[in-house]
Amino acid sequence: MSNITGWAGKILRVNLTDGTFKAEDTLKYKDFVGGMGIGYKVMWDEVPAGTKAFDPENKIIFGAGPLTGTGAVCAGRTNITSLLASNPYNAVSDSHMGGHFSAEMKYAGWDAIIIEGKSPKPVWLKIENDKVSLEDARYLWGKGIFLTTAFVAGKMPKGAQVAAIGQAGENMVNLSVIMNNGSHSAGGHGGVMGSKNIKAIGIRGTLPVHIAADRRDWLEVDKEMMAVIGANNNHVVPSTPQPWAEYNAARSRWTATDGLTWGAANPPVNTGTCDPHDLNSVGLRTQKAVFDHGAVAEQYTVRMGGCHACPIRCHSTLHIPKLEKYGLSPNVSNTCVGYSSPGGIMIQGHSKEGEEGEGTMMSKAVGAQLADDYGVWCNYSQIGRDFKYAHESGILKKVLPQEEYDSIPWDLLEKGDPEFLVDFYRRITFKEGELSRLGEGAYWVAKAWNFGDDYWNSSSYNMWSKLGFPKHHSNETAAQVGSLINSMFNRDAQCHTHVNLTGSGLPIEIQKAVIGEVIGSPDALDAPNSYTPMNEYKAKFAKWSIIRNCLHDSLTLCNWMWPMTVSPLKERNYRGNTSLESQYFSMATGIPTTEAELDLMGERIFTLHRALTVKQMGTVDMRNEHDPICEWVYTINPDMQPFTPGTQKMDREDMQLAFTMFYKEMGWDEKTGAPTKATLIRLGLRDVAAELEKLGLLPN
């Protein structure tokens, strides 16, 4: 295998039931690229329809890809594929984490780890290059993620990376995570590890990742990539006027400016003007603490952090001595929803004590650390909205036994005291009482507590799908494009291809021109809040967004940054470079692959996801059973008509047309939205077609 490049060449299969290991050839999965693609293929081949997430027959696949560990820019993601307990059908889903875990996996010589069966007693998996063993984890059971990581790392050579679950995963809380590096968590699959009695994976690798290309060519592409890259979410315009910048946009994550610092660094580090040509300030562009918490956070910012080989540092690391008051470490790190979701649990607001914004920051910081240690997931912040609905509708009072209801520290909640979160997360993690049902996920909570139509149909609760997941860059992002994307997965969509462009900060005329060059017409994109009826280019834009997302999670590249649709460079007319993935892939693997050829692989991976969903749900009628959107999308702003400026309201018929056009672009059945036999065969998925045919799950 020594001449394999890009990929490490081997996949590790761990059978927990009998404690055996096997090394398998990665190249049998090469048409599925890596990461997510390998995950789906293994699930298709090996996990029978009808299996539930916590059954021993379920498998969980940790995937890296041919670019992970190569040093390709932003190639630090780990893709985890398994059945998802919070989904009503336990349909397949991916959870992703950044950090350094998958790179280490590659350096240990593995492209993926397939974990199957169930261990008779708690274990952790130890990997040092090709030395693999299962270690006793009984003494780790019941411990949080931080301590577990310290223990596991302590039993390994320096430099080991550890992915672990907390008590929430052990207790098979549906909303639980797998985590590495203290703040990089993959949401939804912690309980699968818990159900299998596996607490952690520790990896240390000391081997190289080879590439096929000449190093000079590789470094040239690296240079091009570093020229077009922006700030976090590939925002390419700064948030405030800068001497070098033609534009600025308030909501840009490119927050750096002279005088804004990492205030708790010693000495403080000035983020500065960050001219896009200066390679040594790329990592200063995103002062994420201030973006996530407001100005108050500057003084607590130690630095930014993030994933392997990524120059954009999107996690803020904070030193807040007051955290010790809550029995926590003064040091906390996270980003975006990792901070905002605990904030959302404080449904009566935040303490007004201290500086402006301090109360909110404290809630977010306390909650982030608790959730990260227990390993609780938030279903993209839905847990807080479910709590809010149950509380405000009076349902909580009805469903909770009086004694339990009275034991909840409502006074802390009213005061906005973050101490409330200490109590809340403990109940969720240890499944204490009826309240902990919130940890089962929206679908199950709504069912058990009989949530009313107003929960699903009001825009206040953000529900996108009756399958129990919220919106995630949906109709407010490029109208039908974001809406289609949000309906295609079995959990909240984690696609950022479209929102990275619309959030880039560039004027809409430039955005339209750019996407026109990529997709074929500027009509693919509407101006914000000024929507036009569906057209085929929007369907193409949605398809391109999703298949790039699938590719990124297979290669593995970060879809919070990729693709490089635009750049911060005026001299390039703000054009990015959408061929960089295929250039990297070709150079790493030695398989010359064009942009279109790589996109086809993404299409294959995404279609396999659809086939898995059809198989697990046991119906071809995706249009009516899987894809529908909650009512509020069609009823918000009652006084306004769809397609009038100022509303994000969607039109029912137009959205049905959108689905039809999208299915057509994908080569799926236009009536049901299920993959057709012809398309499956075109994508090299003949075996998938045959099995679906046998099950009667091919559209007529």
Partner: protein, 215 residues
């Protein structure tokens, strides 16, 4: 090993520990002070002027390092044509989670991302008296004529690893594939590519000036 050698080693070890203690904090801001130079083995101006010195000194400003490890990947891609943090001449990954020291009960406040977030790159100090060169049984580690940079002469290197064992900073590694020792040659790639300017090459002119000021 003779008594003297042992003593030398001990001294080095304690020097190293001392350095690490102040390292993160004092080098922050890239100020070259006498203290720092002292820890690197240069105790007076004569030392600096009288020895065939390397072009400069590569340091990591810990207050700016975000642990992205681009330095490790770029270093090995540029010098070895593959990505291999294990043999990178700048080493960050091993310090990433829990800092340079062993994991203790105080890990939530010690260095590393599980603690106070302090991550710093270990760099070759181009030592005045390079232990790596002294340890090499075939004399494969030499000072480059013009620059003074201590480099491995690969035609001589037998890959025995004596240098790696001797280096008090553990920043020289034998490549498992080529069986050649890999040490920093001051190629400057990590400095050029560090996204936060944490890595800096301080030219000796500046070092000398600093020493003269202090001497």
């Amino acid at each position: 090993m003779s008594q003297d050698e042992k003593k030398g080693l001990l001294e080095k070890t304690s020097t190293r520990r001392e350095f690490l203690k102040i390292g993160c904090k004092s080098i922050a801001g890239a100020a070259v002070s006498m203290t720092v130079l002292g820890f690197l083995g240069y105790s007076n101006a004569a030392d600096v002027t009288g020895f065939p010195l390397s072009t400069g000194l590569l340091i990591s400003d810990a207050s700016r390092c975000t642990g992205c490890r681009r330095c490790e990947t770029i270093c090995t891609m540029f010098n070895d044509g593959k990505t291999d943090p294990y043999i990178a001449r700048v080493k960050v990954g091993r310090n990433y989670n829990f800092g340079r020291d062993n994991i203790t009960a105080a890990y939530r406040t010690n260095d590393g991302v599980f603690g106070n977030f302090m991550v710093a790159a270990d760099t070759c100090k181009q030592c005045k008296e390079p232990a790596c060169a002294a340890a090499c049984p075939v004399g494969a580690i030499e000072a480059q004529e013009k620059t003074g940079t201590r480099v491995v002469n690969e035609s001589k290197c037998v890959g025995c690893g004596a240098c790696a064992a001797a280096c008090p900073w553990a920043v020289i590694t034998v490549d498992g594939e080529t069986k050649k020792s890999k040490k920093c040659v001051l190629c400057y790639q990590c400095v050029k590519n560090c996204p936060t300017g944490s890595l800096k090459l301080i030219p000796w002119q500046e070092v000398k000036a600093a020493v003269r000021r202090h001497a």
